[in-house]
């Protein structure tokens, strides 16, 4: 992809809002979307009538049980009598929503955009896993009735086998993120757990155990993105979008190197090029990698070029990714601690970085000064990577 190093227009985030992430929220999907949108507008100091365009992100339609889900969510997201559209790259949708919001403004089409991500997974009975029965190739894979955790177990196993990584090393991610989530007022599953707790939890599909996995959640998240001149009028502390990148690998996941997410690397390289980042491990101050499984955070830190292949567990053990480490990773608590309403979880990662760079992350605020942050999401059949780089 052509990457415009001298961006046509600077784009800022000037407001963000989230709902609580919970197993079962009583609100409808439209109400969840509106709660997050309303908070984002309030922080930005804008009203709905000021918004030019609305971008919606939501992952599989079946979670909410609504066909044409973008249309349905338009109402709750404030998308009435306005240009509204929904973008979608499976689990990577949350960050893609922010990227789409960025290009709505950067292109000059809109000045003020509301980007909203929502997911309500609790209507799925008996469990959202049932929805994942329909994500496979209908001819080659569906007849085998694979389970989603089954293929992630393969990926985790491959990652461990290729680099000689032990489960104990991976479990440290879950320990770190759930501990960080205790400081997050929106979090569903903050806890002080130990490596032993993870290793003693129920085996789902070996080597994936219950505490290796993020919880099922309902939730919504929203941000307000504006052009530079608008941002300057409404805030003294805009957070700038400096780089975006996204990549979709081919559909045939069994043919891939499961030990390394090359699509994340491609997306990251695009974003880094745009942001002028040459040494990501030196230049990224805080990172929110996508962590629906604990091994995925390590996987993604390597794909983001913040650790060499197979070395993320070692850096984790050394404390590099702790909240007071050199590159704090998932200071929000990530999906493992905050919860995983798929698309909303990705946008939550962007919001977490926004708060860190703005200095309003409260108890989640990392100890050292931060100027450049990165949020990343991942999805589809282990094939989608989305990356956004923000600066204050």
């Amino acid at each position: 992809m052509k990457v415009n190093i001298h961006l046509n227009k600077r784009v800022a985030i000037i407001g963000a809002g989230m709902t609580l992430f919970r197993r079962r929220l009583l609100e409808t999907p439209q109400e969840i979307a509106w709660e997050a949108s309303n908070k984002a507008l309030e922080e930005a100091g804008l009203e709905l009538k000021d918004i030019d365009c609305v971008v919606i992100g939501s992952a599989p339609d079946a979670f909410d049980g609504v066909h044409l889900k973008g249309e349905y969510l338009a109402h709750g997201s404030g998308g009435i009598k306005k240009p509204v559209s929904r973008v979608f790259v499976g689990g990577a949708t949350g960050v893609m929503t922010a990227i789409a919001g960025w290009y709505h403004v950067a292109s000059g089409l809109c000045q003020k955009v509301l980007a909203v991500a929502e997911e309500k997974m609790s209507p799925d009975r008996p469990h959202p896993q049932a929805v994942f029965r329909y994500i496979w190739d209908p001819i080659l894979e569906k007849p085998l009735n694979p389970n989603l955790i089954w293929i992630f177990a393969m990926e985790m196993h491959r990652y461990m086998a290729k680099y000689g990584i032990k489960k104990e090393e991976i479990a440290l991610v879950s320990v770190k993120n759930k501990r960080n989530a205790i400081n997050n007022p929106y979090a569903q599953l903050g806890a002080n757990i130990t490596v032993e707790d993870v290793l003693n939890s129920e085996v789902l599909v070996w080597p994936v155990q219950l505490l290796d996995v993020s919880p099922v959640s309902d939730g919504g998240a929203a941000i307000v993105m504006t052009s530079e001149d608008v941002a300057r009028r409404y805030t003294d502390t805009p957070i700038w979008v400096e780089g975006v990148g996204w990549t979709l690998d081919n559909t045939e996941w069994p043919g891939r190197d499961l030990a390394y997410p090359r699509y994340v690397e491609f997306a990251a390289r695009m974003a880094y090029k745009m942001a002028g980042i040459e040494r990501p491990d030196k230049e990224i101050d805080v990172v929110e990698p996508y962590d629906p499984f604990d091994y995925k955070e390590l996987h993604h830190l390597e794909g983001l070029l913040l650790a060499k292949k197979g070395e993320a567990p070692k850096l984790l053990k050394e404390g590099v990714f702790d909240i007071d480490g050199d590159i704090p990773s998932s200071p929000s608590g990530g999906l493992l601690g905050v919860g995983n309403p798929i698309a909303a979880a990705g946008l939550m990662k962007v919001i977490s970085i926004y708060w860190q760079l703005k200095g309003t992350a409260g108890k989640m605020q990392v100890k050292r000064p931060v100027h450049t942050g990165l949020a990343q999401a991942w999805g589809d059949l282990m094939q989608a990577g989305t990356v956004i780089v923000l600066r204050n």
């Binding site: 992809m1 052509k2 990457v3 415009n4 961006l7 046509n8 227009k9 409808t28 992952a59 599989p60 339609d61 079946a62 609504v66 066909h67 044409l68 973008g70 249309e71 349905y72 338009a74 109402h75 998308g79 009435i80 009598k81 306005k82 240009p83 509204v84 559209s85 929904r86 973008v87 979608f88 790259v89 499976g90 893609m96 789409a100 290009y103 950067a106 292109s107 000059g108 089409l109 029965r133 329909y134 994500i135 209908p138 975006v244 996204w246 990549t247 979709l248 690998d249 081919n250 559909t251 045939e252 090359r262 699509y263 491609f266 997306a267 695009m270 589809d380 059949l381 094939q383 989608a384």
Partner: protein
């Protein structure tokens, strides 16, 4: 906003069923043709980003975008899905180009509707789960019926007028190779049919078709390099949602078209749409929708009068769906907007006009429309 250029189009299908291909093969065929039409470009090197327009429930696949990249050449490239009509996807392509991250974008949309066994049940799933779906509507067209009655009362439209629209479009379709449902039907034939839901008969409702369409767009400078002067310009684009809640949207008026067209006209600097355009390609999946949309687009304040006077015929003052629209060609789900754009491109390439308007609607139960202003450079 800079204009973008259409440098290549390719399509496959436009038949009630396409058993010889899977949806992925169909998209591959359409994309290959589009890249050939775009001057034999290689998508792996020449296309900067890829957009697929699709919806999970139409595909029968959860997370349908997983299956987007391979057949359009978008694997390991910036590929994404816009869950909307193909013209909304095109709007995102315009933004990719204008934000500076792409010079050439490929946009794909398709319909494999023949694979869907329970179409009306899927449409029911798109209705609000609390206020509308729960009444268990027996006929998915009931919202169109309500909308049609309100529009007809407001504008003095009769059943005969709707039948004239059907006759016009099905006859116009005879001049297009994509028209599976074209025929020499008469208005009286339409009036003899039973109602599916008042005031619409089976012939007032466009059937569905399989089809895949890929459109390649570029910034104008790149278009000149690749195609010299053999390209068309999208000089205005707009899309809008009125409200998706039935109880809050404005029935009897295509408010979404008014908002979307205002956006597109402003971009294209169109002040008098009626005078500006040589032809209009507008969504007519229900016969009354053609007239309602023409009002929303400010093409006609009195669409019935214009229809009766023949102003919308291919030889009239402003031809509307001169190749038959959806009533003749069928509705290819998310590719609907592109199917109208294909007609528009054919119209200009055949030298019948230079400035045309394309306007698409997402269908029941949505109140979302998209508008393009297409012209020769």
């Amino acid at each position: 906003m800079n204009r973008i250029a259409v440098i290549g189009v390719g399509w496959y299908g436009f038949r009630p069923t396409t058993p010889e291909v899977s949806f992925r093969e169909m998209v591959f065929e359409a994309s290959s043709r589009a890249y050939a039409d775009a001057g034999n470009i290689n998508p792996r090197n020449d296309v900067d980003s890829f957009i697929s327009c699709q919806e999970d429930f139409w595909e029968g696949i959860g997370i349908a975008d997983e299956f987007a990249p391979d057949q359009i050449g978008g694997a390991m490239r910036p590929t994404m899905t816009v869950t909307g009509d193909s013209l909304q996807g095109l709007a995102h392509a315009l933004m990719h180009i204008n934000s500076g991250i792409a010079d050439i974008v490929s946009v794909e949309a398709h319909s494999k509707v023949s694979d869907i066994l329970t179409f009306s049940d899927i449409v029911k799933l798109s209705m609000d789960p609390i206020y509308v779906r729960s009444i268990n509507p027996q006929n998915m067209h009931f919202i169109a019926g309500l909308d049609a009655v309100k529009f007809m009362e407001r504008k003095g439209v009769s059943r005969e007028d709707l039948a004239i629209v059907v006759e016009k479009n099905k006859k116009n379709g005879l001049s297009s190779p994509r028209s599976s449902y074209a025929s020499n039907i008469k208005a009286s034939d339409v009036l003899m049919k039973d109602f599916v839901v008042y005031p619409l008969t089976e012939l007032d409702i466009a059937p569905f078709v399989d089809g895949a369409i890929t459109v390649v767009v570029a910034d104008e400078e790149t278009a000149k390099k690749v195609k010299k002067d053999d390209y068309l310009l999208i000089s205005g684009i707009g899309y809008a949602t009125d409200s998706n809640n039935l109880e809050t949207a404005e029935l009897g008026k295509a408010e979404y078209m008014r908002i979307a067209s205002e956006m597109a006209y402003k971009m294209a600097k169109v002040n008098s749409p009626r005078k500006h355009f040589d032809a209009v390609f507008v969504d007519d999946r229900y016969s009354y929708k053609e007239l309602e949309h023409l009002e929303g687009l400010r093409i006609s304040e009195e669409p019935v009068k214009d229809l009766r006077e023949g102003n919308f015929s291919p030889q009239g003052e402003i031809p509307v769906n001169p190749f038959g629209g959806h009533l003749a060609k069928g509705v290819p789900l998310e590719a609907s907007g592109f199917s109208l754009l294909l007609d528009a491109i054919d119209y200009i390439r055949q030298g019948k006009g230079e400035k045309v308007l394309v306007a698409s609607w997402r269908g029941i139960p949505t109140f979302t429309g998209s508008v393009l202003v297409v012209e020769k450079p």
